[in-house]
Symmetry: C2
Subunit: 328 residues, 2 copies
């Protein structure tokens, strides 16, 4: 759009008016914009027309794991928006494997989905460029696209983690551990950044041994938690980087004599019934899915303009585990 | 197949041999079977050929709610089997609405899926007959098809519920309540039947007020549980008909002074960390999905023969809540 505006020597708003057939543009200006569009190969997305014709349309959803409870409400929300637009949902799991993500995305494109909602596993999405040029609308959710420009809907991972760690510090903790997902995953990196920011703001050091990133497999998380809790200066509190990590840390802490404070990123079912009930930084998975899907259909309806980065706030839910005092 | 066999005057096995090109059939018999097949309009399913040609194929999965944790592992298992066969998964939620189920199934058929795995919301699937005749393989899972003949993979809902209630009786309970899903849902009806069987086998009466069927919405379940637990002769134990019911009953019991025993149908995450930990009748959701999907691809590979009803066993997992003694 920007290129079209520059080439035609008009503003973005004028390009938008021409593309959407709105009034207020002189015939000469319209001609110049149309010529610029043709010269640059800019194609209006026509998927919306397919929808309007009443053909059964479809959109694709690529997520990490259909079996992870975080993705249930997200998928369902995407589905409901798709349904309201007369579209079916085709989905699949990348299993956190960039190659599998690419294979799945391209298979969905080969099936001529009108658009894609992608929770990316990889960090290089240039393979999508031909599809985007061909008009496949794509919105990323939970994590941004890598090396391409695309709409994205995220939670405030940095701010949420910072708030959670600051909450532990406010309850007297000085030695706080962080157990998170693999470092190359955007959400894990952002939450770690939030942890470090809260510690720095409080003037606290972060020992290397207090940060444990890796797979969310229960065995890995258990070992990491046990390491943080042993040694000469064990941590008195743990910040768990996502719901898969939190449930395993809860199991480890249940076997301990001394109380250890815990704040987890992501709310989860029954967190309030555990003893102690688990304090969390809640993000709204359904809202992430809904927002991304609405943005997608907005694009399919021909919405022009810059790509957007939409960030949803998180919410601290104090329940007991995050308010335990430090016990050395 | 049966009609073909009758018309040709041969056995089912002979029809199967002819259809699959196996040896051991005389030319005269083969001719008679082929004539019967043509006369009756019997069509071998050709979807498998599409798969073999290497085109990206797809199967549809219709379930109740993508956001229900029971369906996460089931969906993922169906997806993994589909993936192993080079097929994409297209899925959708019926929201327990028979009309929406039908709309979704027919939309998937219109998209030319090769096959369907269906967790039915309705109890009349005659609308599928033209699709089945056209070769869309269909396997029902969790609940059987209504008024059509189709493969189905089920858990032993009756036996599981009977075992769970017998377990409560063995721990001294005489007044046991049953809170289940809507009566028209197959699994709810079967589990209720199991509850009644266990009570009858122990010579115990079942008061009408002890059985509460209806939606699994938290408010409804909470009211039902509170009604069972009040009055002149409150129950001393509850059998919860599925995981959505169980988690709400756990919440109600957490607010009570006196201990009430609980056994729930379906295992759920963190059941073992609640106090008391929750005794369940576990069914293997992933195995249900895997078995159904494998049956589907077996059909797509041209497997002839009668429809099958495959029943998976359930497993009692004693954890504490089901072993509490009765307190009047």
């Amino acid at each position: 759009m920007k290129d079209v505006a520059a080439r035609a020597g008009v503003g973005l708003k004028t390009v938008s008016r021409v593309v959407n057939g709105e009034p207020g543009v002189t015939p000469d200006t319209e001609r110049r914009v149309q010529e610029a569009i043709e010269a640059l190969g800019f194609r209006r997305n026509d998927s919306a027309r397919v929808l309007r014709k009443g053909r059964t349309a479809s959109i694709g959803l690529v997520l990490e794991d259909l079996a992870d409870p975080f993705y249930g409400p997200l998928s369902r929300a995407v589905e409901e928006v798709a349904r309201a637009h007369g579209a079916l949902l085709i989905n699949g799991s990348s299993a956190e494997d960039p190659d599998r993500e690419q294979e799945l995305v391209l298979a969905l494109c080969a099936r001529r989905v009108d658009g894609l909602v992608v929770i990316p596993a990889g960090d290089d999405h240039r393979y999508l460029e031909p599809e985007l040029k061909a008009g496949v609308a794509t919105v990323f959710v939970d994590r941004p696209a890598g090396r391409i420009d695309a709409d994205v809907v995220l939670s405030d991972n940095f701010g949420g983690a910072r708030d959670g760690v600051a909450h532990l510090i406010a309850h007297g903790h000085r030695r706080i551990g962080f157990i998170g997902d693999k470092a190359r995953i955007h959400t894990a990196a952002e939450r770690l950044r939030g942890y470090r920011a809260a510690m720095t703001e409080a003037g606290l050091p972060v020992h290397d041994s207090w940060v444990a990133l890796g797979s969310t497999a229960p065995d890995r998380v258990r070992s990491a938690a046990e390491a943080l809790l042993s040694g000469p200066e064990p941590v008195t509190a743990i910040f768990a980087g996502n719901n898969r990590v939190t449930v395993t840390v809860v199991r480890v802490l249940a076997d301990l004599e001394r109380p250890v404070a815990l704040v987890g990123f992501d709310d989860f079912e029954l967190a309030d019934l555990l003893r102690p009930a688990v304090t969390v930084i809640a993000q709204d998975a359904a809202q992430l899915g809904r927002t991304a899907a609405e943005r997608l259909f907005h694009r399919l309806d021909g919405a022009p303009g810059m790509t957007q980065r939409i960030e949803l706030t998180t919410r601290l839910v104090p329940r007991g585990s995050g308010e335990l005092p430090p016990v050395n």
